[in-house]
Symmetry: C2
């Protein structure tokens, strides 16, 4: 599926993450058509295993809103969220998740623990996959190919 404008912005964050040597994933949070925050993966730079793009964008948006919840917000992320990100997305009460490429290796929404499918998940967002997946997957492939050659 062709990416929307917000997913284009998430793809830009993913490319910027690659330029910094981080696994290239980007995320954008939108509320009522307004971008609240955007971020790329920073686990290495920040020495923080929780610093995935989605969590950093959620933290920044929550800070901006002075709230631990982002009720009604949309999240655009270039890769299927991992289980940690999926659980934080639920805790933040994100309304809709638009993601790019699927992640059979580490995904947590459509794969493995399927975070939103258990009674222990108290808020289940709407989920739409495959938005901008071709470009998202290409960015990841290029990044890992370059690293293997390094």
């Amino acid at each position: 599926m062709k990416p929307t404008g917000h997913m284009d912005q998430a793809l830009i964050e993913a490319r910027k993450a690659a330029d910094r040597g981080e696994v290239p994933v980007g995320a954008v949070i939108v509320l009522n058509g307004k971008v609240l925050a955007s971020a790329g993966n920073q686990t290495r730079e920040l020495h923080d295993p929780s610093a995935h793009a989605e969590v950093l964008a959620i933290r920044a948006a929550c800070k901006a809103m002075k709230s631990e919840r982002l009720t009604g917000a949309d999240l655009y992320v270039t890769l299927e969220p991992c289980p940690a990100c999926a659980a934080v997305i639920s805790a933040a009460r994100i309304a809709r998740v638009y993601y790019g490429a699927s992640d059979p290796k580490s995904g947590g929404i459509e794969q493995g623990p399927c975070i939103f499918s258990h009674p222990q998940c108290h808020h289940k967002p709407e989920v739409y996959g495959g938005i901008g997946e071709t470009e998202s997957a290409a960015i990841l492939r290029r990044f890992f190919k370059t690293r293997r050659q390094a």
Copy 2:
């Protein structure tokens, strides 16, 4: 099971969290017998839905170690970790998790998504439950009883 010294410290963090009006959960990270970090839940104070005790302690310990991994470290936490915390525990390569009370409502290790039981989980720590569970559960019960009466 009677709590160890490190779980006692985690229980102190839980009590301090309650005093600040946060859901009382505490965590301590230990590497080679040395406490690297301890933290209590701060989701409200920080406006951060990811700011559970475990994640805050892991982030602080990673910062201290200048690494996104805590290989060989032990985590003591007063309540069964939620799915987000369990996934970050795995990403941080924590070796052993000692937890207090089980959490049928929101737990992610022995309940629901059972984070460590899927192929998408690339590191499975050893897990020991029920350490200091009586005191941990009592602290939570007191906190929620007081809030209901407020």
